[in-house]
C-alpha cells in the first residue's frame, strides 16, 4: 500500500516560487537588511548573517571539505556583500542568490590554488586505489556521500550542491552556474546517476574490506 501521507510530507510545496529569482529587490526577502547596510548600519549585515551564514557555510564546507577554509570564505563573502550593497542593482536576482555565487567563486579559487588539485575523473580512481583503511574510515553513510560527491566532476558537484543541499531553484542554480536550465538538468541527472552507482560501489568495497 502506497503511503500517501509520507509522500505528502516529502512532496510539500515550497514556500517560494522559482519566479521569485527575478523579483525586484522590493520583494527580496533581504530588502530590509540591504536598506540598513546601504545606510552604513552593521545591523543589516547581522540580519544577513542570521539568515544565510549557516547555509553559506555549509555550501563552503561541502565544496572545500573543511570548516576553517569555509570560515575564511564566509568572512570574505560578507565583506564583499557589505561593499556590494551600495551598487546592488535591484531586479536581477535575490541577494541570497548573489551571495551563493560569491561563495561558490571563492571556493573555486581556493580549490584551484590547492596542490594537488582535486581530481575530477570520477569515482573510478577512488574505487580502484581504495585504501582499505580509508574505506574503513568511510563506512558511515555521511563519509561515503562526502567521498562520492567530492569525486564528481566539478560542474556536476556544483550543480548537485546548489540544488540538492542548498535548495536553490533550478532557475537560481542555473543563474549561479551561468547555464540554461536544460544544461543544469543534464548535469544534475549525470551527478545523481554517478552517485547512485558510486555509493553502491563504495559501500560494497567498504563492507568487503571490513574485517
Amino acid at each position: 500500500m502506497f503511503d500517501r501521507a509520507m509522500v505528502r510530507v516529502s512532496l510539500c510545496l515550497p514556500e517560494a516560487d522559482a519566479t521569485l529569482s527575478t523579483a525586484t529587490v522590493s520583494t527580496d526577502p533581504d530588502a530590509d537588511a540591504l536598506e540598513l547596510i546601504a545606510a552604513g548600519d552593521s545591523r543589516g549585515c547581522q540580519r544577513l548573517m542570521q539568515r544565510h551564514l549557516t547555509r553559506l557555510h555549509a555550501l563552503a564546507v561541502r565544496m572545500l571539505g573543511n570548516a576553517s577554509d569555509a570560515d575564511e570564505v564566509c568572512q570574505d563573502a560578507f565583506l564583499r556583500a557589505w561593499r556590494q550593497v551600495p551598487i546592488w542593482q535591484a531586479g536581477n536576482a535575490r541577494f541570497s542568490t548573489w551571495l551563493h555565487q560569491v561563495v561558490l567563486n571563492l571556493c573555486r579559487d581556493r580549490l584551484r590554488s590547492r596542490m594537488p588539485p582535486l581530481q575530477s575523473d570520477g569515482l573510478e580512481a577512488l574505487q580502484a586505489d581504495g585504501d582499505p583503511e580509508q574505506l574503513r574510515a568511510s563506512q558511515d553513510t555521511a563519509r561515503l556521500v562526502q567521498t562520492a560527491v567530492n569525486a564528481l566532476p566539478e560542474r556536476q558537484r556544483e550543480a548537485l550542491i546548489l540544488c540538492h543541499f542548498q535548495g536553490l531553484t533550478n532557475i537560481e542554480a542555473a543563474g549561479v552556474l551561468k547555464l540554461n536550465v536544460d544544461a543544469l538538468e543534464s548535469l544534475l541527472a549525470r551527478a545523481r546517476r554517478s552517485l547512485r552507482s558510486g555509493l553502491a560501489s563504495l559501500s560494497d568495497a567498504s563492507s568487503r574490506k571490513s574485517p
Binding site: G40, A142, G167
Partner: protein, 141 residues
C-alpha cells in the same frame, strides 16, 4: 495542467530527486498527479527518495558562534554609522521606555537627598557667614 509522461517523470527525478520543492514549479502538479496515480511512477519516486535520504546524511557542522563576531569586526563602518551604533546602544539600554523613568528617578533622588541627609548640612556655616567672619577677623590697616 498537462499530463506528464513516465519518461519525463524519470528525468525529473533523476535530476532533482524526490523532493517536490526542488522540481520546476511549472511541472510540479503534473508530476504529483502522476505519482499518485501510477504504481511505476511511485516506484521511481521511492528510488529517488532512497538516494535523497543517503545524501541528506551529509550534514556539515554549523559554523562556530565566534564566526559572526569575526565577520562583523572586519566590516569597515561607513561614515555616519556612529549614529546607528548610538541608536543601537540606546535601543540596547531600553530606549526611552527605561531611560525616561531612570532620568526622572535620578532627578527626584537629587532633590530628596539633601532633605533626607539630616540636619548636619544645615549646621554647617554658610559661605557668606564665613566670609563675614573672615572680614571681621582681618586686622585693620
Amino acid at each position: 495542467m498537462n499530463a506528464m509522461s513516465l519518461s519525463r517523470l524519470r528525468e525529473l527525478l533523476d535530476a532533482y530527486g524526490a523532493e517536490s520543492a526542488h522540481w520546476p514549479a511549472h511541472e510540479r502538479d503534473a508530476a504529483l498527479a502522476l505519482i499518485f496515480a501510477s504504481q511505476p511512477a511511485r516506484a521511481l519516486w521511492h528510488s529517488a527518495q532512497a538516494l535523497d535520504s543517503a545524501l541528506d546524511q551529509w550534514l556539515p557542522a554549523a559554523p562556530d558562534a565566534a564566526l559572526s563576531a569575526r565577520i562583523l569586526a572586519q566590516l569597515p563602518i561607513a561614515r555616519g554609522a556612529w549614529r546607528s551604533q548610538l541608536a543601537q546602544l540606546w535601543s540596547d539600554l531600553g530606549g526611552w521606555r527605561l531611560a525616561g523613568p531612570a532620568f526622572a528617578a535620578s532627578l527626584a533622588l537629587g532633590a530628596l537627598l539633601p532633605l533626607l541627609s539630616g540636619d548636619s548640612q544645615r549646621d554647617l556655616p554658610d559661605e557668606d557667614l564665613i566670609a563675614a567672619v573672615q572680614f571681621i577677623d582681618e586686622p585693620l590697616e
